[in-house]
């Protein structure tokens, strides 16, 4: 219950912070920005009146807050004059495809590799994983994406294998083309994290495997596979769940960059286009949307953690 209240408070604070950043920081006049370049002073004054931009700070915040909470209204885009919420929802499937696919790939690599390195510490695999991880964590996703396209894209690649930039199609239209267009973005996004988590799972597992109850399990005559999977892995994975939820934020950031490089029409590219058009409400909407999403993700992870580890209580 306290956990829920904290999440709710966090959302309010996040709304406040976004409001502060976008209303107070820019030195440009929002009414002028909305009216456009050729606006008459009368029009600017009318807009200022209509959107309450002449009212004091706290009143403006109250209006903003109320519309976000009650209608999830994220404002109107300056550039296209359409609700930002609709624009975001229309682009959500593409972003979810990128993020979820990367997340799946990330775990699919991290789990087996982590177990492998834990069972054979300081082996060649262990060191290779460490090296790969550091490389993929050091290389920015957008640059890695370019290199991948340069090597593997069907239109320009030196070894044409999969679809290149701008070949994204929705899953419902053509699953095969969808998969092909996303495999490079997934790889670029997932590899660094996969290595990091492989190391983390490996370290946790190594510690757990040295505990008494694992020895007991072995003494009972259980098979090694059963000992590792049922006794070791369960305890080793619980702390990873919370961390994975926190890293969703990084994944989201990575999604912005990857969508830009691979020209995928998702929420991230919307944010970047909004920046290029100086479309503040659109940027503000995406930032807030992302922040609220992360708060929910962390909440879910905390609940999951409590389910997985009965000792934790909120």
């Amino acid at each position: 219950m306290r956990r829920l209240a904290w999440s709710a408070l966090l959302i309010v604070l996040v709304i406040f912070l976004t409001f502060l950043v976008f209303y107070e920081l820019p030195s440009a006049d929002p009414a002028q920005l909305r009216a456009g370049r050729l606006a008459t002073p009368a029009l600017v004054a009318e807009i200022r009146e209509k959107f309450g931009l002449d009212r004091p700070f706290y009143e403006q915040f109250w209006i903003y807050m109320k519309s976000v909470v009650t209608e999830f209204d994220l404002g109107y885009s300056y550039y296209k004059n359409v609700p930002v919420r609709e624009e975001i929802f229309a682009r959500l499937p593409a972003s979810i495809s990128v993020a979820v696919g990367a997340f799946v790939l990330w775990l699919a690599i991290a789990l087996p590799v982590g177990i492998l390195t834990a069972l054979r510490p300081r082996s060649r695999t262990d060191r290779a994983v460490t090296g790969m991880t550091l490389f993929f964590l050091s290389a920015p996703t957008y640059w890695l994406g370019l290199v991948m396209l340069f090597l593997f894209a069907r239109d320009i690649g030196r070894f044409p294998l999969v679809g290149g930039a701008g070949t994204y199609v929705p899953l419902s239209e053509n699953p095969k083309a969808w998969f092909e267009s996303l495999i490079l973005p997934w790889i670029v996004l997932a590899f660094g994290f996969a290595g990091l988590y492989a190391r983390m799972i490996g370290e946790n597992l190594r510690e757990v495997m040295a505990l008494d109850y694992v020895r007991t399990a072995r003494a009972k005559g259980l098979s090694e596979r059963r000992v590792v999977v049922r006794h070791g892995l369960r305890a080793a994975l619980t702390p990873v769940v919370t961390l994975a939820a926190l890293d969703l934020g990084f994944l989201l950031g990575g999604t912005i960059l990857v969508e830009t490089v691979f020209n995928i029409p998702g929420v991230g590219r919307y944010a970047v286009e909004a920046i290029q058009n100086a479309d503040l409400p659109a940027i503000q909407g995406t930032v807030l949307f992302g922040a609220i999403f992360i708060i929910f993700a962390v909440l879910v992870a905390d609940i999951l953690y409590a389910v997985l580890d009965p000792r934790v209580r909120y």
Partner: protein, 314 residues
């Protein structure tokens, strides 16, 4: 595992962090290579002026005669232009060197300021606890709830419009990026310092100091701060590469360093539309970025292993 020789020196006792670090560096070939590479990068950044005058060209000069005469596209590496020229005929080599200057300056200055602010707040929170601690810790939690890159984008675009933000105090370009780095990095240091101080303040030597009549200022400055230096240095080595990547990402997305000033991220962004023909334009800034970040990460790991073997990876 410490070797016999290392155990012997450890038994002799008191080694300064610097000596420990140096010892580690001498025995670890990879860390040593990373250290040497970083030294080269720093020197190249500092002496970018003389170097470009000697073997290259001024970073912002445009040699349009070196563009392809038929298409006006950039031409590749030659003896005259080691890394080729870019879309307007500027020397890519010179711009990569000047990009190093921007990257290092922004990341080091930004992280440094964040370190000071974060440490002071963290120490206050950990030492005085109570209300101060609650306020500071909760603020940190709110910051950690935000998707970093998204909000950084928001602040960046809010500050890149018109005359900058906070009444013109923060101008678009380098100060904006440094501001963003400070805004998002102080939380790491605050959390670290708070945790350390919470346990340090209960130690016997602090109690002893208090018993001899030392005031808060003496205890903080003489007893607690010296014990914070090592963990903070370790963190510093791990946060700086993150911030180099952040600067590059912001510049890549167009809210960081603006042309004509050179930055690696911005060069990669400019190279993106023609990356399949002008490979040198995206390859060299990208490789410089990856190698620099990688070297920092490798060195950071070595520093951590040498100074604080118990600290887990962030």
């Amino acid at each position: 595992m410490p070797t016999g020789a290392e155990m012997e020196t450890a038994a002799v006792g008191g080694h300064s962090p610097l000596a420990l670090f140096w010892e580690r560096l001498r025995s670890d070939r990879i860390a040593f290579a990373a250290f040497v590479f970083l030294l080269v990068v720093v020197l190249a950044a500092v002496f970018a002026g003389p170097i470009t005058r000697l073997i290259a060209h001024p970073p912002n000069a445009q040699y349009t005669d070196h563009l392809d005469p038929a298409f006006g596209t950039p031409t590749g590496p030659s003896w005259d232009f080691l890394f080729g020229v870019d879309t307007v005929g500027s020397d890519v080599f010179a711009r990569v060197l000047y990009g190093a200057r921007v990257s290092l300056l922004v990341a080091i200055v930004g992280t440094g300021i964040a370190m000071v602010i974060g440490t002071v707040l963290g120490v206050l929170a950990g030492y005085y606890r109570g209300v101060i601690d609650t306020v500071i810790s909760r603020t940190v939690d709110v910051f950690l709830a935000f998707p970093l890159l998204l909000l950084a984008l928001g602040v960046g675009s809010a500050c890149s419009l018109g005359q900058g933000c906070v009444n013109g105090l923060i101008q678009p370009g380098m100060t904006t990026v440094i501001g963003i780095i400070v805004l998002f990095s102080w939380t790491y240091f605050a959390r670290l310092a708070r945790g350390q101080v919470l346990s340090l303040r209960e130690k016997e030597f602090v109690e002893a100091a208090r018993a001899t009549g030392a005031g808060d200022v003496t205890i903080l400055g003489r007893e607690i701060l010296p014990n914070l230096v090592t963990p903070i240095l370790v963190y510093l080595a791990l946060v700086i590469p993150q911030n180099i990547l952040l600067e590059a990402a912001l510049s890549y997305l167009g809210v960081g360093i603006n042309p004509p000033q050179a930055s690696w991220g911005q060069m990669i962004a400019e190279a993106t539309p023609l990356f399949d023909s002008a490979w040198w334009y995206f390859l060299f800034p990208g490789v410089a970025l990856v190698l620099t970040v990688l070297a920092f990460n490798l060195l950071g790991e070595a520093v951590r292993d040498a100074l604080d073997p118990h600290m887990s990876r962030i």
